[in-house]
Assembly symmetry: C2
Homo-oligomer: 345 residues x 2
C-alpha cells in the first residue's frame, strides 16, 4: 500500500540497492541481463525514485527557482511572464529538472524565499525584474546560489547575465517616426528603476534629444490611460507616443480613440513586447517583439551550466524585432514610404 522503494525493486530483481541505482544512473557497468531484470522489476512495481531521498543523497534538488516580488495586479497584466515560463520549461523538460515558483509580497519574504531555495528547494535561480541597483545581486552571490540575471545589469556582479539590447529598437522606432514627419514624440516609460525601463527611456531621450515628453508609467493599463490623457491635454500634444509595453499602449491608444483622436492619422503609437493581441487590434499595434520564450530557454540553459559548475558568463541574446504595423502609419496618407521603412519591412 505504501510506495515501493529501491529496496523493494532490488529484492524483486534479486540484486542489491546499489545495483538498481547504478542500473539507472549508468555510473558503473551493469550486465545487460541484470539491467533487464532490474528494469522489469521496477516497471512491475511502478517504482519511481524518491526525489527527496535523491536530493538528500546527491545534495541537489534537480530544480531551479524563480522568486517574484510583484503585485498580483501587475503579474496578471504581464504578457512577458507566461511566455518566459514556457521557454524555461521547454529546456527544463529535456533534463528532469523542475521549476519552483514563489511569488512574495515583501523584501523580507523575498529573502526568506531565496534562503529556502539554497536550503534545498532549488539549485539555482533566475532573477527577473532587475533594478538598476539590485540588492539581490550581492545577496545571491553571498548565498553562493547559482543565479542568472535576466536583463542588462550594469552594476558590479559576478553572476551570469542574459542581456538584451533594449536601446536599439527604441532608436529605430524614433528614427522611423522622424522619417514619417513626427517631431513631437513622447515616451511613456515603465518604472525607471527597472533596468529595462531605464534602458528604453534613456535610448529615447538620446534619440529625441529632450526629456520634455518623457513620462513614467507603471506598465499597467490604468497608467497607460492616465498618462496618455495627460499628454493629450498638453497645449502642444505629441503626434506620436512610444509606450514601454503593449498593455499601456493599448490602453492609451484606446483612450485616445475614445476621445476622437484618430490613430494613426492624428496620433501614432507604438508599444513594446508584442502582446499576442497587438497584431489583431484595429489598427494593429506597432511594437517590438522580444521573444520571451527564447530568453527563457537561454537563461535556463545558462543557469544549468552554472549549476554544473561552469564559470558564470554574460551572454547577449539578440531577440528584438521591430514590428511595424498600422498604428504608426503615415500621419497623412500621401506620405511616400521612406527608405528606412522599406528596410524595416
Amino acid at each position: 500500500m505504501t510506495r515501493p522503494t529501491i529496496s523493494d525493486v532490488a529484492r524483486a530483481a534479486g540484486v542489491t540497492k546499489a545495483t538498481v541505482s547504478h542500473a539507472y544512473s549508468g555510473n558503473r557497468p551493469i550486465s545487460a541481463a541484470t539491467r533487464t531484470r532490474v528494469f522489469a522489476a521496477a516497471k512491475e512495481l511502478h517504482w519511481v525514485p524518491s526525489s527527496s531521498a535523491r536530493a538528500l543523497a546527491i545534495r541537489r534538488a534537480n530544480a531551479i527557482g524563480i522568486v517574484l516580488r510583484r503585485d498580483p495586479a501587475i503579474l496578471a497584466s504581464d504578457t512577458f511572464f507566461p511566455a518566459f515560463i514556457a521557454g524555461v520549461e521547454q529546456t527544463l523538460a529535456e533534463r528532469e529538472v523542475a521549476l519552483v515558483l514563489q511569488v512574495v509580497g515583501s523584501r523580507a519574504a523575498e529573502e526568506r524565499a531565496y534562503r529556502a531555495m539554497v536550503a534545498g528547494r532549488a539549485d539555482g535561480v533566475i532573477v527577473l525584474d532587475l533594478h538598476r541597483e539590485d540588492w539581490r545581486v550581492p545577496f545571491l552571490s553571498q548565498l553562493r546560489l547559482p543565479a542568472v540575471l535576466l536583463g542588462a545589469y550594469d552594476g558590479p556582479s559576478t553572476l551570469s547575465c542574459v542581456r538584451t539590447d533594449d536601446a536599439e529598437p527604441v532608436r529605430d522606432l524614433v528614427e522611423y517616426l522622424r522619417g514619417r514627419g513626427h517631431r513631437r514624440i513622447a515616451h511613456i516609460a515603465g518604472p525607471l528603476d527597472y533596468v529595462h525601463s531605464y534602458a528604453r527611456a534613456r535610448a529615447y531621450v538620446q534619440a529625441v534629444g529632450s526629456r520634455e515628453l518623457l513620462r513614467e508609467g507603471d506598465f499597467t493599463a490604468g497608467s497607460g490611460r492616465a498618462v496618455t490623457a495627460e499628454l493629450l491635454s498638453l497645449p502642444e500634444p505629441p503626434t506620436a507616443i512610444l509606450y514601454a509595453n503593449d498593455t499601456m499602449a493599448i490602453a492609451g491608444s484606446s483612450y485616445a480613440q475614445s476621445r476622437g483622436v484618430r490613430i494613426p492619422g492624428e496620433l501614432a503609437v507604438a508599444g513594446f513586447d508584442d502582446d499576442h493581441l497587438s497584431a489583431h487590434l484595429s489598427p494593429p499595434l506597432t511594437t517590438v517583439s522580444t521573444d520571451p520564450a527564447r530568453r527563457g530557454r537561454v537563461a535556463t540553459s545558462r543557469l544549468l551550466a552554472d549549476i554544473a559548475g561552469e564559470p558564470p558568463t554574460s551572454v547577449t541574446v539578440d531577440c528584438t524585432v521591430l514590428r511595424l504595423r498600422g498604428s504608426t502609419d503615415a500621419p497623412a496618407s500621401d506620405h511616400p514610404r521612406s527608405e528606412l521603412e522599406e528596410e524595416f519591412r
Copy 2:
C-alpha cells in the same frame, strides 16, 4: 564553507539535534532559555533547515504542483493563468509551501510529471484545463495523489473540486442582449472538450434555443478573428457575438471594426474573463469577471486540507460578475434602459 547543518547548530547551542528540531517545530516543550540559545546559534550560523532532508524525514515535500499541458502560444495568451497563480501563491505564502510548476508537451510527459510529483516533488496537485472526460481524474486517484480539480467536473470522481457556475452569466448576457433588441446572437466557444467551454456553450444554446450561430474557436486571438470573419460574412450576420474569452473578443471586435462595422452600433460584443485590458478598450468590453486569484486561493486551501488528511470535498465558488460596458450598448441610442440592465449595474 559548506552550509551548516542542524548538528552544527546543536553543537553551538550545547544541545542535541533533537532539541534544535523541537525548538523549531514546537513538537515538545523546550525551556525558554535553551530555545533562546538555539535560535541565537541558528541565526549566528545562518542556518536554514534543509528542505530535502526534512522532506525525506517527514515524507512530505511541502510543495504542491501544477502540471500544464499547453502549447506555449496558448499559455502566453492566457490571461487567467498568471492571476490564478498569484492567488495560489497568496495562500501558499502563509504556510511555507512552495509551488512546483511543470509545463509539458505530451501525454506521456504529463504522466511522467505527475509520477514525479508523487515521488516526492509535491504533496498534491491542482488540475487545470479540465476536459469533460479527463483521464487525469482516475489516474490521479489511482496514484493516490491528493488533487483538486478546478472546474465543474461532471464525470465520476472522488477528488476535491472547486466549481464555478459558468452558465449563469451566459444566460444573463443573452437575456440582457435580448432585452436590447438583439435577435441574432452568436457564440464563439472555446474548444468544446473543455468543461468550462462546454458549460458556456451549452448555456448559450439553451438560452438562444438554437445552435445555428454557435462556433468553436480555440481561445487565441487568431481564432477570434477568423471565426468572427466567418460570422460577419454570413448572409444574415449576427447583431451580437458572445466570445468564450476576452482574447477572442478583442481580436474579433477589432477585426469587425477594421471592416467598418461599428461597435456596439452594428455589432454588440461580449467576452469572458475580464482581461486587464478590457475595461480600457474603446469601446470598453462587456465581459464576465471570474476572479481567478480568488479561485486560486480557494483551490489551494482546499488542496492543503486534502493533504492534511481531510476528506475530499466539492466546493462551489460564486465568483462570476457580469461587467456591462460599452461594447454591448444599445444598437440604437434611443433604446431606453431596460429594467434588467438597471439591475445589473
